[in-house]
């Protein structure tokens, strides 16, 4: 399967981030068209396209937009989640740096659909260059009159916290607080940022919107599977010959992605395991990669599409060590709000580290599995469930490798 370039079509151009380059390649035509459409018609088109959120949760985008109360009198906010932080994911960095106007145009269209006059773009604090590039593009868009006429964009920098990629944690952070996720209900579409109805969408998700408008929902839907339209940008890293961002249909198989697009496995050349959707996705064994990369395909395989961050491990990689690195991440990034997550991410990291350091106890593996499963689904947000994915899958699928490290 060859790569289909829609979102990344301009990436090779050195000036792809400029308004001139964007316009040259048909930029802002979708917005022109959207201006002639009723908001409900835009939402319907996006629904028909089967676009699903590309930040991690995979929720149908048009459906999300339709949750905004129809006759709401006060402000409605559009918030862009550019707090890319899922380990193994780097696609939004490319979009912000190389095609910022696609995001702005997508925001204009989305804002019209949900009747929002203000958009906030929350960019992770470490992303300095992406923030500069995007801010420059926003200025261009103001100067050219795309922004400032019924829709304003505020660019907001985060300050270092993975949890702010969770949509309500992001809202808390945007409001000037710690990034503690909020209780649901109320859901953001009813009561989100600053207490107003709010839609939070990922960068890549919104970048798809102009293409749906110009080329039609049917075209977009046909690019993917029955339940998910379009292409998406896969971030491929780890032990592959050509790590990088690859755009392909959501129907591509994991095997094709690794072998055809990323050039195959390095290390000893033999695949051991793959994380298919960012570190929160359950790991797949080498014999489990003949799956399509769409939301439902990976869900059926017992994992998730997540942010499409693919981390490849060859046979020389120590899975226990990999889990230790991942467990350290979740312990470090737990926001501390809910007891199960706050207390057990640190404990599980301690146990995995002990195992890797040769001080494991016989019952550690069962304890980790049991604690993780008991905590799953008990917290305010999905962060802990995201940690449970690796805890359980790494141990279940590579148990012998862990046991070999535990002294008899």
């Amino acid at each position: 399967m060859t790569a289909t370039k829609i979102l990344t079509r301009n990436f090779e151009r050195a000036d792809s981030h400029t308004l001139a380059a964007y316009r040259e390649t048909g930029g802002y035509a979708a917005w022109q068209k959207a201006e002639t459409l009723e908001p409900a018609a835009i939402t319907e088109e996006v629904k028909q396209s089967n676009l699903r959120g590309l930040g991690g949760a995979g929720f149908p985008t048009g459906t999300k937009w339709s949750f905004i109360p129809k006759h709401h009198a006060g402000p409605v906010y559009l918030v862009i989640n550019a707090d890319e932080g899922e380990p193994g994911t780097f696609k939004d960095r490319y979009l912000l740096e190389r095609d910022p106007h696609a995001l702005i145009e997508g925001m204009l269209i989305a804002a019209r659909a949900i009747r929002s006059a203000t958009g906030f773009v929350y960019i992770r604090g470490e992303y300095i260059e992406p923030w500069r590039r995007f801010s420059a593009a926003v200025k261009e868009a103001y100067d050219a009159g795309y922004l400032g006429r019924g829709f304003d964009v505020v660019v907001h920098r985060g300050a270092g916290a993975y949890i702010c990629g969770e949509e309500t944690g992001l809202i808390s952070s945007l409001e000037g607080k710690k990034g503690w996720p909020k209780l649901k209900p109320p859901f953001p579409a009813i009561k989100g940022a600053f207490g107003a109805p709010t839609i939070v969408n990922n960068v890549e998700t919104i970048c798809c919107v102009p293409h749906i408008l110009t080329r039609g929902a049917a075209w977009f839907a046909a690019l993917g599977t029955k339940t998910q339209g379009g292409t998406r940008m896969y971030s491929v890293s780890g032990r592959v010959r050509r790590p990088g961002v690859y755009e392909a249909s959501v129907a591509i198989t994991l095997r094709a992605l690794i072998d055809d697009l990323a050039g195959g496995v390095t290390g000893n050349g033999r695949l051991k395991a793959v994380v298919p959707g960012g570190s929160s996705a359950a790991i797949l064994r080498a014999d489990e990669i003949d799956v399509t990369m769409d939301v439902d395909g990976l869900r059926n395989a017992g994992t998730m599409a997540g942010s499409a961050g693919v981390i490849v491990m060859d046979e020389t990689v120590s899975i226990p060590e990999a889990l230790m690195v991942v467990a350290r991440f979740y312990a470090h990034e737990s926001c501390g709000q809910c007891t199960p997550c706050r207390e057990s991410t640190g404990w599980i990291y301690k146990m995995v580290r002990r195992i890797v350091e040769g001080r494991g106890r016989k019952d550690d593996l069962d304890t980790i599995l049991d604690v993780a499963r008991r905590g799953a689904g008990t917290t305010i947000c999905a962060f802990y469930d995201g940690a449970v994915g690796p805890y359980v899958s790494y141990i279940e699928k590579f148990r012998a490798e862990f046991e070999a490290l535990i002294p008899r």
């Binding site: 505020v154 916290a161 000037g176 607080k177 107003a196 890293s237 780890g238 994380v275 981390i311 060590e321």
Partner: protein, 160 residues
């Protein structure tokens, strides 16, 4: 109350007010204002927290919650440069532990410490989302990619 020894310039105060005006609730400008404070004062001392709290009509405890939550706010003086080596999975697979060890040896400091001459603060951090170029690190506002010990040496030498 003792007279504050930290204070923004008039222009910076105007900028804080502008930032506050961008949001439906001025508190939302707290993170941007703290970024500005860190650029201005070098790090976010308790005194800075209290100063910013007054600008936002918040209690110092509320600002302290925010400052201690985010990793990019330095509560102690930092070096003139900050070297943050990614240690998450993709970088780990590409040799991040060796890179961290190499930087520690070269700088003579442990993770979290600053060189005696105040030149560099070393950090080991979670995923910076440039995994295609692992191992990588952030040096101040730049991403340094595809690191090797030799490349790290060249980068460190350039830090004055």
């Amino acid at each position: 109350m003792t007279a504050p020894t930290v204070a923004f310039s008039e222009a910076q105060l105007a900028e804080v007010r502008r930032l506050q005006g961008l949001y439906p609730d001025g508190r939302a400008a707290l993170l941007p204002a703290l970024h500005l404070a860190q650029e201005t004062f070098g790090h976010i001392s308790l005194e800075v927290e209290e100063y910013v709290a007054r600008l936002f009509d918040l209690t110092p405890a509320h600002v302290h919650e925010v400052v201690t939550f985010y990793t990019l706010f330095f509560r102690e003086p930092k070096g003139r440069h900050v070297v943050a080596v990614c240690h998450n999975l993709s970088c780990h697979l590409a040799g991040a532990p060796e890179i961290v060890a190499h930087v520690r040896r070269r700088l003579g400091v442990d993770v979290g410490e600053t060189t005696d001459d105040g030149r560099v603060t070393l950090q080991s951090v979670e995923c910076l989302c440039a995994c295609e170029h692992a191992p990588m690190m952030q040096v101040d506002d730049r991403y340094e990619l595809d690191l090797t010990p030799e490349k790290v040496d060249r980068i460190l030498e350039g830090l004055r």
